[in-house]
């Protein structure tokens, strides 16, 4: 366990990818996952195709296709896979890997999750209005806030948005720091 701290980053992505490929090895390409996925219609490669790319070692193509950003973690594929593979977790592992290996290509996708966790780190509990504000700031998209503005105004009118609460502020700072030194072992 100590070795992770003495040899951190360099080979971590490779280890993570090996673990992913190993867990996908039993996939028999039956296509149940793709047929069950409510978001397959919006993916560049279906889940089954993604697993095949990874099985055959086309890691860069798999990461570039980016289908894992369209996964809504509904666990339907995991439930139905006749091989019992942990597919939803693989999707999440691919998002982590893509964000680390090709941050320049993950675009807006990684930003939301990252901003979300930054919010948790700062406030201890998610503060929705602060989250949306920093999401808009990080995305630097002039039109994005307008896409959410009508909803924002309605939520405001319903008294659902308010300034961030400070009760748990900074509470998770130590835990986040500690977790960052441990390295990804999956």
């Amino acid at each position: 366990m100590k070795t992770d701290q003495t040899h951190p980053a360099p080979d971590e992505p490779t280890l993570a990818m090996d673990a992913i490929r190993k867990s996908l090895q039993p996939c028999m390409q039956c296509g149940t996952c793709s047929a069950s996925c409510p978001n397959a219609f919006a993916m560049a490669t279906t889940p089954r195709e993604l697993w095949r790319l990874l099985q055959l070692g086309f890691v860069d193509d798999a990461l570039a296709a980016g289908s894992f950003w369209m996964c809504s973690s509904c666990y339907t594929c995991t439930l139905r896979c006749p091989r019992g593979l942990p597919l939803t977790e693989v999707m999440a592992a691919l998002r982590r890997l893509a964000a680390r290996c090709h941050p320049e290509k993950t675009g807006d996708n990684a930003t939301f999750y990252k901003t979300f966790l930054d919010n948790v780190r700062t406030y201890g509990r998610v503060q929705e209005s602060a989250l949306m504000t920093s999401y808009f700031l990080t995305m630097k998209s002039p039109t994005l806030p307008f896409a959410f503005l009508p909803l924002g105004l309605r939520l405001l009118g319903k008294g659902k948005l308010h300034g961030p609460s400070g009760t748990q502020k900074g509470r998770l700072e130590g835990l986040f720091n500690h977790a960052a030194t441990q390295g990804d072992r999956t």
């Binding site: 919006a42 809504s72 995991t78 439930l79 982590r96 929705e128 999401y135 130590g174 977790a179």
Partner: protein
């Protein structure tokens, strides 16, 4: 019955009506809920996408706090996403000693450890169905929801990947509760369909398709043509998850307009199950914070004020 209560972040923010109605309903049902002191975010759906260690440590911290302050109590979780995060962590830690060691190493700085001595992680729906039971619910009903057709919507994370208290393919756990309230059940197969979850923030166009399909199925006439007063279809969708509620409620107009198919839909009220229970228990619209829901239809309000039985009785005596 007493539970360690984990509300989760949403119930303190945009889903206050869920928190308030859960507390009110559980009190009427004679159960005691005590909030886990100092609880923090469970990581939601973001932690696992960013950092594996945090996806272990964030839920574990809350279970460790529960174990310390209320050993042995089951942990009651109304939010489906929080429920799955806590449940998954509990299962992983109990199944694998090395995961327990890794997780507790992350918590060590605060002097916390999660060893599994707390009770089970339980979803609100599980507790209502199996600990309290439909009969005890029925006994508290003061204003039966007669004439109201409800579409039970379960979403993803209380059903999958674990089979705990319902069938993930054909969920039905809400039906005995809704029947106990006097409501009719909308027969549909979309109850376990994903609402798009956080894709609504990152890929809205895809999430709107899912939301549109769910809303249309809720508003559609039942297949065998048994028309009801809602003009065929549900008056209200009952949810047990803040993310599902927000996606189905707040994006209705857009989903019905843009969410694929190009078929016109009609608005449907989307309430938390606990709000419906509260209304049937005689709580006022204010007491269950009905004003916080965005898409409450006039037809729904009308039915609340004039339940079916009363209005037909009035017609016959006139």
């Amino acid at each position: 019955m007493k539970y360690a209560y984990y509300p989760g972040c949403s119930l303190r923010e945009s889903a206050q009506e869920f928190d308030v109605s859960v507390r009110a309903v559980m009190e009427r049902l004679g159960t005691e809920i005590e909030e886990i002191p100092d609880w923090t975010c469970c990581g939601a759906s973001a932690a696992e996408s960013v950092d594996h260690n945090l996806s272990l440590a964030l839920p574990a911290r809350n279970l460790a706090l529960a174990e310390k302050a209320m050993p042995g109590l089951d942990v009651l979780v109304p939010c489906s996403a929080c429920y799955l995060n806590l449940l998954k962590l509990q299962r992983n830690v109990l199944a694998d000693k090395s995961v327990m060691a890794q997780t507790n190493a992350l918590l060590g700085d605060e002097g916390l450890a999660y060893t599994g001595k707390t009770g089970r992680v339980r979803h609100l729906l599980d507790v209502l169905l199996n600990d309290i039971g439909p009969e005890a619910v029925r006994a508290k009903v003061e204003k039966p929801l007669h004439g109201l057709t409800v579409a039970p919507y379960y979403g993803c994370q209380i059903l999958r990947p674990y089979r705990v208290f319902d069938d993930p393919e054909r969920p039905s756990s809400m039906e005995p509760i809704l029947s106990a309230l006097g409501a009719a059940i909308h027969p549909w197969t979309m109850g376990g369909r994903c609402c798009g979850a956080s894709l609504m923030a990152t890929h809205k166009e895809a999430a709107l398709v899912s939301v549109g399909e769910i809303l249309r199925a809720a508003a559609a006439a039942p297949p065998d043509g048994q028309e009801d007063e809602a003009g065929g279809g549900a008056d209200v969708i009952a949810t047990v998850c803040p993310m599902c509620q927000m996606n189905l409620d707040a994006y209705q107009k857009q989903a019905l307009r843009e969410g694929g198919l190009g078929v016109a839909g009609r608005p449907v009220t989307v309430l938390y199950l606990s709000q419906l229970i509260g209304l049937a228990f005689g709580l006022s619209a204010q007491q269950v914070l009905l004003e916080k829901n965005l898409a409450v239809t006039e037809a729904f309000r009308e039915k609340l004020v004039h339940p079916k039985e009363l209005s037909t009785a009035a017609v016959t005596t006139a």
